[in-house]
């Protein structure tokens, strides 16, 4: 199943690239392909994203990093299909993506288990299998005991893990994460990094992770994309050799963080001259 999001039919002179959807695509087709994507709010509003071309391989863990206002969340929303590009195309090869937000956005009237079950229900899983599948997913995030608790009885970190289990319940090959750990304390965040990395290795999901935290990006990503602000462009990218599980204290994470921070500051300084 291929789902290509194209800009709505061109208004004025914007060129709309239509993706050539190959029916017999090679096995190593990218999981997400973005081609010449531009986004502006309104017809004459500021350009938020400019000419972004990007391809993300299946099973890749990509971090989108940038200062506020660089349009990283907008880019994620466009990939998720929640917003539409002004021009250019976005193709999610597996059809659609699961999304996780900064707020867990769990349904407060349902228990943790029922929240996961609702995602299974909307996916079309038959009623008889929902309970057991929900418990398996909660076990994956180490929350089996919390299945009957309601969101307000859980800590922020636990809520985000339930939200993670819920997005895994969607069973999409691509998982989009919009600053999911930004509101958590450092100790919890550190544990959730480990959890997410483990789940990524176990499930082979393609993950696009938006963050404004340099160390978080260096800790998690196989590939870190730095975005510049106003307009949002991809300014640079770094690839990390996957050396197995790493830690936020690891020297390679520190080295990468320093390099990224250096360029991030340059990008931010550029804005002062206007």
């Amino acid at each position: 199943m291929i789902n290509t999001r194209t800009a709505p039919v061109a208004v004025g002179a914007t060129t709309v690239h239509r993706a050539a959807v190959a029916t017999d695509r090679p096995a190593d087709a990218p999981a997400i392909r973005i081609d010449g994507l531009t986004k502006r709010f309104g017809t004459n509003g500021p350009i938020v994203l400019e000419d972004i071309t990007l391809s993300i391989e299946p099973g890749e863990f990509v971090c989108l990093l940038g200062a506020s206002g660089c349009g990283k969340s907008t880019l994620l929303n466009i990939i998720a299909g929640l917003e539409h590009p002004t021009s250019g195309t976005v193709t999610v090869t597996s059809g659609s993506a699961a999304v996780m937000f900064q707020e867990s956005a769990l349904f407060p009237w349902l228990t943790a288990g029922r929240n996961v079950e609702l995602a299974l229900k909307l996916r079309g899983v038959p009623r008889s299998q929902r309970r057991s599948q929900a418990l398996e997913l909660l076990d994956l995030v180490n929350l089996t005991d919390a299945a009957d608790k309601r969101p307000h009885e859980l800590s922020g970190g636990m809520r985000q893990r339930v939200a993670l289990a819920r997005s895994l319940a969607q069973d999409r090959k691509v998982l989009l994460m919009d600053e999911p750990f930004a509101a958590l304390d450092a100790i919890t965040r550190d544990l959730l990094h480990e959890e997410l990395e483990r789940i990524w290795r176990e499930t082979g999901r393609t993950i696009v992770f938006v963050t404004h935290n340099v160390r978080e990006a260096a800790r998690l990503g196989q590939r870190v994309l730095l975005m510049s602000s106003r307009p949002g462009r991809i300014a640079n990218e770094w690839r990390l050799a996957d050396t197995g599980p790493r830690r936020i204290e690891s020297p390679e994470v520190s080295r990468l963080s320093i390099a990224i921070t250096e360029q991030l500051r340059q990008e931010i300084r550029r804005n002062a001259q206007h």
């Binding site: 937000f101 707020e103 956005a105 909307l122 800590s155 636990m158 544990l191 050799a241 990468l256």
Partner: protein, 312 residues
């Protein structure tokens, strides 16, 4: 995953981790996470049912007793004209008399049945109306102001028109009740839906909900507290409108309700019976609130973790 490269100069070699060791480290991680979860969650201390009863019942009962005592003191000390200010004992005797000749029971049952039926009809009309208003922008722009206006208009103003249209029948009473209750219920649902966090709708559509599923599985449950507040107000308006209609429209095929009893006592200049009827009307209203709405509301708010704030 066996691997070496770390980037610059120093290359460390990591030995492949045996499966057993990995399992232990996984267990370690689970224990670590469970420990943090335990630290971050505070167990809720539930008040026992007996304590809740005492907390809930004692203060209003004490206040009521104090008011009755003050009333009796006033009657004894100031000695007002008994036909203008009857004492609590006169009123109590009047209630006893109304009870013993069966008129009180008849009036309460007639009014409750009519109020209840009118309220249910109002729910059946107001709920779909509110849903349409909240989800259909054009209808909201067109009908919203009118509905808010109707909510402000005292429904008793409809009584004369209703009598001309429907005569002295139950239809008049129901019409007035509906004009009072439907706007409250519809507006309550609209307010409830307006307050649904947009994030929940986004999650619903990200999870692949159709428009109908979004309404039934996400928006309506999320709007439930606001809807319940609307229902409470709708009941209050039903009950008030009913009393007003019963006082004004008497005779014909209209049954004998509490409002009719109030009007009849006034015609007989029987102040103790008037006060007795007012107390009964008040009491029925409080009882319905306590039995029907309060438990549902408490349960709803507790499930969503909204009970800790305020003075409830």
């Amino acid at each position: 995953m066996p691997s070496t490269e770390t980037g610059t100069g120093t290359s460390t070699s990591v030995l492949p981790v045996p499966a057993a060791a990995r399992a232990t480290s996984d267990d370690d991680f689970r224990t670590l996470e469970a420990g943090l979860d335990a630290l971050q969650t505070v167990p809720l201390v539930e008040r026992g049912p007996w304590r809740r009863l005492v907390d809930g019942v004692l203060p209003p009962v004490l206040l009521l007793a104090a008011l009755v005592v003050a009333w009796q003191f006033y009657v004894v000390i100031a000695q007002p004209r008994p036909d203008l200010v009857p004492g609590p004992f006169n009123v109590w005797a009047s209630i006893g008399e109304l009870w013993s000749n069966g008129r009180l029971q008849q009036a309460v049952l007639t009014s409750l049945a009519r109020g209840g039926a009118g309220f249910l009809i109002a729910v059946a009309i107001g709920t779909p109306l509110g849903l349409l208003l909240a989800e259909w922008r054009l209808l909201r722009r067109a009908l919203g102001p009118l509905l808010s206006g109707l909510q402000v208009l005292p429904s008793v103003a409809w009584v004369p028109a209703a009598i001309i249209w429907f005569g002295l029948t139950d239809a008049t009473v129901y019409f007035v009740v509906l004009m009072g209750a439907v706007p409250s219920i519809a507006n309550g649902l609209v307010a409830g839906i307006d307050q649904v966090p947009p994030q929940l709708r986004r999650v619903g559509s990200v999870l692949g909900a159709s428009r109908l599923q979004l309404v039934t599985l996400v928006i309506l449950p999320a709007a439930l507290p606001g809807y319940l507040a609307g229902l409470k107000q709708g009941w209050a308006f039903s009950w008030r409108s009913l009393m007003a209609a019963e006082i004004i429209a008497m005779g014909g095929s209209i049954g004998f309700g509490l409002g009719s009893m109030l009007q009849q006592s006034r015609d007989l200049a029987d102040l103790p019976a008037v006060l007795a009827t007012i107390l009964v009307i008040l009491f029925v209203g409080i009882l319905v609130e306590l039995i029907a709405f309060a438990p549902v509301e408490r349960c709803l708010l507790r499930r969503r973790g909204l009970t800790s704030g305020g003075t409830r």
